[in-house]
Assembly symmetry: D2
Homo-oligomer: 266 residues x 4
C-alpha cells in the first residue's frame, strides 16, 4: 500500500452538478451568460469578482492590445500547423501561443516585475519616496549588466509606440494612472537620457505598468498576452480558410533553402 | 537558382508602420483600445467588422460558455505543465488547449457542420421545406452508423443542460433564433423519441446551432472553445499561484501507480 | 466528503526509489544505459521487452524514415517558435510536432488501420484467403467514397517513393515481409490499375504495413513519426543556432503580405 | 512593392527530388535506413556526421537516461491530453514535452552552460589551470546568490543518483571522461563540503558534463531530454491504450477539489 500522506486538493474555480454550473460563485447560465463579456470573464477568472465599469474598460483595452499585429511569427506558426493538422484547430493555436516567450511577449512580465520590486503590490506595498531616484537606479543597474530594460525600446515603433499614450490615456480616464505608471515613464526618460538613444516606452512596458495599477501579479502578465493572442490566432485561421498562404510560404522556403544542394537545380 | 514560380502572399489582418498599427482596417490605438472588448475584438478578427450590440451580446455569451468548468483534464494539464515550466506560462496554456479535441470540444464543430450540411450558410443557403423530416433523416443516419449525434446527450447535465435554454433565450432576445436552432431542437426531440433515452441538447450543440445563426463557418466552431478556454486556463494558473495543487496530484498518482512494484512498499 | 468510488490507478512503466530506477522491469543504470540505443528503448517502451537484433534493425529503419525531410512546415514552425521563445527549446519542438496531423503524417496510421481491418493483429487475426480480392475491395470502397487511399500516391516522389523499396528490402532481410505488406502492395497495384494514374506506394504506406508486421497497434503508428520528428526538429534548432533563418522568413512574409495596404509602401 | 531587401535563406539539413532524399549529405534509403539507429540519426542531425562506435555508445546512453521515469507530470499531461483528443497523438506528446522546463529538465542545460563558461568548447577552449579553485569559485558564487547549483542535489536519489556513476563509467570506457566531468565532480564535492548537506551529482548534471565532453552546445542540452522524453511519452500512450487511467485521475481530482462547494455533497 502506498505510504505517502495525502494533503487535500481544493479549488474554487467552479463546480457542476446535474442541473447547475457555478463559476467563481456565480451561476453560469443566469449570472454570466448574457451579462459578462469575454474580457470581463477573464477578470472574474483572475480576480474572483466581476469588474467595475472602469476596471472592465482598462482591462479590455489591455487584452485587445496584443490580439493582432499582422503576420507575426506566431501567426505563421499557427497557419503552418493548421496546414499539417486541419482537424486540430486547437493544436494550431497552441503551437502559435508556444512562441510567446521572452523575445516578443515576455517584456510585459519583466516590466511588471521590475515595478513591483520597487513599489510592491496592494497587499504588500513598499515605501518609495523618490521615484526619479528609483528610475535612475533601475537604469544604472541594467546598464551595468548590459541588460535591456523590459518595456523600453522598439525596433519599429519609434520615437513613440502609438499604443502607449493611448493606454495611459485610458488609465487616466478610468482612474488607474498611478505610481507604477509614473515610475515606468521615469525609467523611459532616464533610459533615453543615459543612453543618448531614442528609446520609446513600448506597449508591453505600458501593459506591465497598468497591470501593476490593477494589482495583478507580474507572474500573470504573460497571461494577458496569451488570452489576447489566442483570439488573434483564431482570426488568422479564419483568414487562412478564405485565403490560404501557408503552403506557398512553406514551398517557397523549402525551394530556396535547398537550391544550392539539389541536383535538379541548375 | 530556384525554379519554383511564386504566387503572391497577401493578408488583410493588419499592418504596422513606425507610428501606426492597423487591425482589420481600424486604427488600433484610436478605434479599438478603449472601445472594443476582447469578445468584440474576436468578432472583428473573424468577421472583419465590429459587431452590432445584438451580435456582441450573443457572441460574448457563446465565448463565455466554455471558459470554466472546474477541474477538467485541460485545467490539470495546464497546472501540471506549469509545475515543470513556470517560466513559460504560454506553454502551459498551450498544453491545456491541445486536449480540446473530439472528446469534449469537437461536438460544437460537429453539430454546426451537421446543420450547415442541411441548411447551408448565408452565402450558400440550401432549400429545406421540411425541418422535421430533415431531423428524422439525421437521427436515422446516425443510428444506422451507430454514431453519436454531435451536440446530443451529456453524462452529467441531464435531463437538461442548464446552459442550453439560457443560450437559446439570449438567441431569441437578440433576434438570432432561426432555422438552424429549430432543426437542432428537432434533432434532439427525435433522438430521444427514437432511442427511448434521455438525451439533452448539450451546450456544445446549442453553440453549434447559434454559430450557424451567426453565419460562422463550422470549421471555426472549435475556435470559440479555444478562445474561451485560453481565458479559463490563465485563471487556473492564477489559482495555482495562490494555492498550488499540481505537485500533490502528481505525487499521489506516482505513488499509487507504482506501489505494486516498488520494493520500498510493503 | 467526496462520494465518488475510486478505482485503482496502476502503471507498469517503471518506478524509482532512493537508489534504484526501474524501467519496464529492467534496471536503468545496469541493464539499459550503455546497452540499449534510443530506438531499442522505444521498442522496450511500446512492447515491454527488448527487441531481437532483427526487430531492432527494422524498427530503427522505420524510426529513421521520417526524422528529416528538409524545410518542412514542422521545421519552420519549430524555428519560428524558437525565435520567440529561445529559453523554451522544448516548446519549439512541441509546436513543430503539433502539425503532424492528417495531412502529412496521418497516413501511416490510416494504412495500418486499413490493413488491420482486413488481416487483424497477432492476438486477433482475421481469416482472408484472397488478398487480391481484398485489395480490389479496398480500392473500390475508397473510389466509391471519393476518398484517397492512405499510403498511396505522393506529390513529389513518383513513380516510386525511394524509401518504400528499401524499407521492404529490410523487411525481407529481417524476416518481416508478410501478408500485410503483400496486401498493401496489391492495393497500390490495383489503385494504379483502377485510376489509370501513377500512384506510388509512399513511405508512410510502407511504414503502416511494416508496423502491422511488427504487430503494433495502428493507433500508435503516428507515434513512430512523432519520435522520429522530435529528433529531426532538435536538429533544425541546432542548425538555426549556427545559421538563423527564422527572422528572415518572418520579416519577408510580413513585408509582402501587408504591402498592398501599408501607407509606407509605394 | 515591398521595399525590404531579402537576404538568402539556406539550409543544409537535406533535400529531396522525385527519386532521391538526402539527409545531411547521406542518401536516406541506401546510407541511412537499415544502417543507422534512431540515436545515431540524432547525432547525425546535430553533428552533421555519423558517430563513431564510442560516440554512439555514450550518446545513446545519454538519450536513454531521461526516456522513462514513471508517472511524471509530463506523462500525466500526455495521458490527460490524449483523453481529450485521441485523434491527435502528436498533440498529446507535444503537450507532455511542453513541461520540460526549468524545474525538472533545465538543469542539464544549466550545468553544461556553467562548465562551458569555465572550460569553453573545442572550437573556443578556455585556459583553466586550477580546476579545484574553479569549483570553489562556482560554489561560492551560487551560495552568495542563494541559487541552487545546476546538476547538484536530488529530492529522492540520494546520497547517490544511481545514473551518475554509470554514465561516468560509460564515459571512461568510451574515452570521454575529461576535464568537464572532473570539474563537475569537484563542484559536487565542494557543494557538499560548503553546505554540510548530502548533495548528489544528479543525472542531469552528469548529462550536462558529458555533453560538454562531446562538444555539444549547452543550448542543445534540453534537446537531449526532449528527444528521449518524446520516446517515453509515446510509451505512456501505448500503456494508456491497454490500461486507461487518465479518466480516473481527472474524475478523482475534480470530485475532491470541488467537494467543499458542491451542493450535492454532504
Amino acid at each position: 500500500m502506498p505510504r505517502r500522506k495525502a494533503t487535500p486538493i481544493r479549488s474554487d474555480m467552479g463546480w457542476s452538478t446535474a442541473d447547475r454550473i457555478s463559476v467563481k460563485g456565480l451561476d453560469l447560465p443566469s449570472e454570466i451568460l448574457g451579462h459578462l463579456s469575454l474580457g470581463d470573464m477573464a477578470w472574474l477568472e483572475i480576480k474572483g469578482v466581476r469588474p467595475t465599469p472602469a476596471e472592465s474598460r482598462i482591462f479590455n483595452a489591455l487584452l485587445c492590445t496584443l490580439v493582432e499585429h499582422g503576420m507575426t511569427p506566431f501567426a505563421l506558426v499557427t497557419r503552418l500547423t493548421y496546414l499539417g493538422a486541419p482537424e486540430s484547430l486547437q493544436a494550431a493555436v497552441a503551437a502559435g501561443l508556444s512562441g510567446l516567450g521572452t523575445t516578443f511577449a515576455g517584456t510585459a512580465e519583466g516590466s511588471a516585475r521590475m515595478l513591483q520590486a520597487v513599489l510592491g503590490t496592494r497587499q504588500a506595498p513598499k515605501a518609495c519616496d523618490d521615484l526619479p531616484a528609483a528610475a535612475r537606479q533601475i537604469v544604472a543597474d541594467h546598464r551595468a549588466r548590459r541588460a535591456s530594460i523590459p518595456g523600453i525600446g522598439h525596433p519599429v515603433h519609434k520615437p513613440v509606440d502609438p499604443r502607449t499614450p493611448r493606454l495611459f490615456e485610458i488609465a487616466r480616464e478610468t482612474g488607474f494612472y498611478g505610481r507604477h505608471i509614473e515610475l515606468m515613464s521615469l525609467v523611459q526618460q532616464e533610459a533615453e537620457r543615459a543612453s543618448g538613444k531614442v528609446l520609446p516606452l513600448n506597449a508591453t512596458g505600458a501593459m506591465g505598468a497598468i497591470l501593476c495599477e490593477l494589482d495583478i501579479d507580474w507572474r500573470l502578465a504573460r497571461g494577458i498576452a496569451v488570452m489576447g493572442r489566442a483570439v488573434g490566432l483564431v482570426g488568422h485561421i479564419a483568414e487562412e480558410l478564405r485565403n490560404p498562404i501557408a503552403k506557398e510560404i512553406y514551398e517557397r522556403v523549402e525551394d530556396e533553402a535547398s537550391a544550392h544542394a539539389r541536383p535538379d537545380v541548375d
